[in-house]
């Protein structure tokens, strides 16, 4: 790890001023940033510590039905907030499917949004990586790439965004509130992360120094609470990133889907909102045939970026699974193994 200057601002304004100095990085829990600093992938000259700032750690249920979540709210606290869990169950399920209890106790909302890809070549400073070192090439393209992207990738970068949390957020039209050197602005979560194109080093629309201060879920998102699930396929039972995942949310009236939301994880450099699939579901009966059609639509543009053609069919199947689970109704209590397609609802056993 490189040596750095440590700065502890006392207000958001001070933090933004400090964060705008070139070479600075914001430190939330550090579960991603410190990890990357240890292996030399991140080398900030100064750390601006967000942990002692006032006003960033509240969960406010607002009068109009929206919820506003401070950037420093810990993943576990959000997932276990009773009001939040009841109104946005798929978001809670996604949070609880991520990482481990220890990491969720520390990790923040802001840090989860801005976590970096888990591409092994990105993490190995001896490898060529356009995202880490623009113009150097992409060793993942000829290397071990079975977990890489199948949607929205470019020849410059085939990495995926690893967050579970962001997948239902994209489905439910979350809004990111940002404060920067030039003031405040709001960004739809769906527009927050960038596809690689020719500039994979640009991972989000944040300008240098911009600080995420809060995340908002609109009141409308709670309208899906009765039929909202997250499903996540992992290479081991728990404590693993998604190979593919899906957040599905339905509004069902008189046996018909009147509104549908679907987003996929593990397939692209951003959480992937599948609007074509949503359109295919509108007005349909919540049944297997409609779910399969929706999944086809969601993956219509997919193509392998390496040894990962299997992920396309896997993504279709996880979409169908999430839609099927959502149609069956949000369970009263989350399953013992959140988001796992292998989780029994109660009483069963997994290995």
């Amino acid at each position: 790890m490189n040596r750095f200057e440590y700065v502890r601002p006392r207000s958001v304004a001070e933090a933004v001023a400090a964060g705008a100095v070139p070479g600075s990085a914001y430190l939330a829990a550090g579960t991603n940033l410190l990890d990357l600093m240890k292996i030399g992938v991140a080398r900030p000259g100064r750390l601006v510590d967000l942990n002692h700032l006032p006003g960033l750690d509240g969960i406010e249920h607002q009068a109009d039905g929206a919820v506003r979540i401070g950037a420093q709210v810990r993943n576990a606290d959000l997932a276990h907030d009773p009001g939040f869990r009841r109104r946005f169950p798929a978001v809670a399920e996604a949070l609880l499917s991520g990482a481990s209890a220890q990491l969720r106790n520390a990790a923040t909302v802001g840090g989860n949004l801005l976590q970096r890809t888990r591409c092994a070549w990105f993490q190995d400073t001896a490898s060529a990586c356009n995202r880490r070192d623009p113009g150097s090439g992409c060793d993942a393209r000829g290397g071990e790439n079975r977990l890489h992207a199948v949607l929205g990738w470019s020849e410059h970068c085939i990495a995926t965004h690893p967050s579970d949390f962001c997948v239902p957020l994209a489905a439910l039209d979350a809004v990111v509130e940002v404060e920067g050197p030039t003031g405040r602005r709001e960004i739809a979560l769906r527009d927050f992360h960038l596809l690689p194109g020719t500039t994979p080093e640009r991972e989000s629309v944040l300008a240098p120094g911009e600080l995420v201060v809060a995340l908002r879920l609109p009141a409308e998102a709670a309208g899906f609470a009765a039929h909202a699930r997250y499903a996540k396929l992992r290479e081991r039972t728990s404590y693993a990133f998604a190979v593919v995942s899906a957040a599905a949310a339905l509004r069902i009236v008189d046996g018909r889907i009147v509104a549908a939301r679907l987003a996929l994880g593990g397939v692209a450099a951003k959480p992937w909102r599948a609007e074509e699939a949503e359109a295919a579901l509108a007005g349909a009966a919540p049944e297997a045939a409609a779910f399969r059609r929706a999944a086809e639509a969601a993956l219509a543009a997919a193509r392998p970026s390496g040894d990962n053609a299997f992920k396309i069919e896997l993504a279709r199947r996880i979409a169908v699974r999430a839609l099927t689970l959502a149609a069956a109704g949000t369970p009263e209590r989350l399953p013992a193994l959140p988001a796992s397609p292998f989780a029994p609802l109660s009483g069963g056993r997994h290995v």
């Binding site: 040596r3 510590d49 997994h350």
Partner: protein
Amino acid sequence: MSYTITLTINRVPRTLELDDPRITLLDLLRERLDLPGTKKGCDRGQCGACTILLDGRRVNACLALALSHDGAEILTIEGLAEGEALHPMQQAFIAHDAFQCGFCTPGQIMSAIGLVGEGQTGADPERVREGMSGNLCRCGAYRGITEAVVEAARAMAADGQGRAA
């Protein structure tokens, strides 16, 4: 440049001078405070061997910057027993043979105490297994670990000890 922080470690308040901003809580405990009970397995958040209670919550000490936790209360494996009397979780680990080499054990025990305090699993083995999945055991003592945590969770609930650690 040096930095001064205060931490309460195993109930003892301490004022510490750090000459290097890079130090993690794990290295602080092990290398500077002579508390090597907290283990370093991966140093990257991937194994749970370094689990401590930070302000009552279980976290990975390897990914916590010491400077950032100025003012915090820390409980490590060394702070659990009261004299000769072991914590119920320690007793349960012994009773259920919940280890072999013992390297992961301090992290398992601290994690298990954190889990009971969180109050999400009760004594349901299915939920306990998932709640403990952030602690790897290379010796594969998982069966005993789950049994120990389930038993201690019951005992601690009966004792009203759940939150007190």
